[in-house]
């Protein structure tokens, strides 16, 4: 069987003295949407940043197409893998079109700044996120949902087959969360992209992910299809949550209905 394009081997990552991830192994399924879930502080964002070479591992390695990602030229990585951080910051006064155009930077060189390819990629990215009409607007004037879509457009314009999204639905109301996740699904079905995203909402993760990876205390405690992973036992053990898991009446995926947080006496 073909090895997955992106994987982590006995990965150790931390900030300063504090270890966050210790000895984690993960293979990211190609052409699928993977949701990384886990309680607060379980190392979800840290894992995503390490997988996207934004954080250097202390030990172990992240491999992209069989090569150590932290030893590849960062620009080469940028043409293969896109990472959208949780709270990206753009310079003041930047318009949506300008932001999305920056997504083409890895494909340009100092002697070739802008091509028709770039034009097409930007137009397609704006279309896909429904941002075409807002292209001329300044980023600071957009609503949270629009701004999030603008950043996703930039990641799309980057044209990478692998996409890592850190909580792409933060700050969005439910309608906008669903909108963003529908877009993520289309990235896989229409464009065959591989997506890894950190999500807090278990029900939305179960509905939109092909595969779920559950983190607890810096290592993978469960992974697989949502109906295999999202069980009442797992919720009790990993999330410390007493809950029923029923079938989502709309999508048929697992639906978590909380009962109460477990009392610590158990």
């Amino acid at each position: 069987m073909k090895r997955p394009r992106l994987r982590a081997e006995s990965l150790h990552v931390g900030y300063g003295e504090t270890p966050v991830i210790e000895g984690l192994d993960l293979e990211v399924l190609d052409d699928a949407v993977t949701a990384v879930i886990g309680p607060n502080g379980s190392g979800k964002s840290t894992l995503l940043r390490a997988m996207g070479r934004l954080l250097a591992p202390r030990r172990g390695q992240v491999l992209l197409d069989g090569k150590r990602i932290d030893r590849m030229p960062t620009r080469e990585v940028a043409t293969l893998l896109g990472v959208l951080p949780q709270t990206p910051r753009a310079p003041d006064g930047l318009t949506v079109a300008e932001l999305v155009a920056h997504g083409r930077h890895p494909h340009q060189a100092w002697y070739r700044r802008w091509s028709t390819d770039d034009d097409e990629s930007v137009a397609a990215a704006l279309r896909m996120t429904g941002m075409t009409d807002l292209a001329g607007r300044v980023l600071d004037q957009l609503s949270g949902g629009q701004r999030q879509r603008a950043w996703i457009s930039m990641a799309l314009a980057q044209g990478t087959e692998l996409l890592l999204l850190d909580e792409p639905t933060t700050y969005l109301d439910l309608a906008h969360q669903v909108e963003v996740l529908e877009l993520v699904r289309r990235l896989r079905t229409d464009l065959g992209r591989t997506v890894v995203m950190v999500l807090h909402d278990l029900n939305l993760a179960a509905r939109y992910a092909d595969r779920m990876v559950v983190l607890g205390d810096g290592s993978v405690v469960a992974q697989g299809a949502p109906h295999e992973v999202l069980t009442e036992d797992l919720l009790r053990e990993v999330f410390d949550l007493e809950a029923r898991v029923i079938s989502d009446p709309v999508a048929g995926t697992p639906l978590v209905v909380p009962v109460s947080p477990r009392t610590r006496a158990h």
């Binding site: 951080p85 310079p91 980057q158």
Partner: protein, 343 residues
């Protein structure tokens, strides 16, 4: 600059028009002077003819003076465009931050150390002087950085510290000139205000070499300037290591300012204003490098021409002209930023 925009034509037109202006100023500078020369004389001399006086005045005095002004102006312009883009602050130019006066102090140090009154010759001049200027510029830059550091460097703080360091470096230059007993006022003036008076071919070589090496580096690295405005993670995602890229471009900027200073002294205002003028003329978001280079060359050569001819028989250093133009602009920028900082 990234992105398709109608301003592309406009941003190409600015350097083109400025090159035209530069050609006119250069032609006038070569023609005008105590020895009246006609266009015909110039052409004759350039094609190898003319009498001995004409050849001397044109080839040994006026031509190198114009060229050195153009080279130094271009280097100052690009240097300012880089530092302002990196710091995202129109005040952050090598002259305001004290890098240029620091380079001048370094150069004066060599002159005084070499023990010659007001000038050095030979290898000390062509290699030692620019290297000393570079060392002075780098040391000053490092000092400002350390003094302004408070868990990261804030743009406004950097400028305030820079203005202080600039004053210190100016006084260090005065002191060195006094200690070194530099008797020649013209020479001293070069290192205090910046002047093109008496500059010859040997002074032009280092800055020309620096431009040939550093301008391509600036243009190559400059393609990442747009991405440098983002946060570190986003920039890395787009294939740019922010800290590395910022440090490398800052180094290029300091080296350009030092090379220009070793040629004409700490001519102020050019690095500060030309990037902002070029930016407004081109209608783009960040100072354009080539536009700043050409406008910088135009500003220094025309200031020198004006300084030579405007006051009758009295010749004024070009740096005085740029300082007179620059002081009000600098005050305007500072008051505007202060207001912004308080809101």
């Amino acid at each position: 600059m990234n992105g398709p925009r109608p301003a592309r034509l406009r941003s190409a037109a600015v350097p083109a028009i400025a090159v035209g202006g530069l050609a006119i100023v250069a032609a006038l500078s070569v023609r005008i002077g105590d020895l009246p020369t006609s266009v015909g004389d110039i052409l004759r001399v350039l094609s190898g003819g003319g009498d001995e006086t004409q050849r001397y005045v044109l080839l040994a005095l006026r031509l190198p003076r114009v060229l050195i002004g153009a080279f130094a102006g271009a280097a100052f312009g690009v240097s300012g465009a880089l530092t302002q883009s990196i710091a995202r602050n129109p005040l952050a130019s090598p002259d305001v931050l004290g890098v240029t006066p620091g380079a001048a102090a370094g150069a004066v140090g060599v002159i005084v150390g070499a023990g010659e009154y007001g000038g050095v010759a030979g290898p000390a001049s062509t290699v030692g002087l620019p290297l000393a200027a570079l060392a002075g510029g780098l040391l000053t830059a490092a000092a400002i950085y350390l003094l302004a550091w408070r868990r990261g460097v804030d743009g406004y703080r950097l400028v305030l510290v820079g203005i202080g360091v600039q004053a210190f470096m100016m006084n260090l230059t005065y002191w060195l000139l006094t200690v070194g007993d530099v008797a020649d006022a013209g020479r001293a003036m070069v290192w205090i205000t910046g002047s093109l008076d008496g500059r010859g071919w040997t002074d032009a070589v280092p800055v020309a070499v620096a431009l040939c090496v550093l301008l391509p580096l600036a243009v190559i690295g400059g393609s990442a300037l747009g991405v440098l405005q983002f946060d570190e993670d986003t920039a890395r995602n787009l294939g740019v290591r922010i800290q590395l890229c910022r440090a490398a471009l800052f180094l290029v900027a300091v080296a350009l300012a030092a090379a220009a200073t070793s040629a004409v002294g700490p001519v102020s205002f050019v690095a500060l204003a030309t990037p902002q003028i070029a930016l407004r003329l081109a209608g783009v978001a960040r100072p354009p490098l080539i536009g700043s280079a050409v406008l910088g060359a135009l500003l220094v050569t025309s200031s020198d021409l004006f300084a030579r001819v405007a006051f009758g028989g009295v010749e004024v250093p070009a740096g005085v002209i740029t300082a007179v133009l620059g002081a009000p602009y600098l005050m305007f920028l500072i008051t505007r930023q202060r207001r912004k900082a308080h809101v």
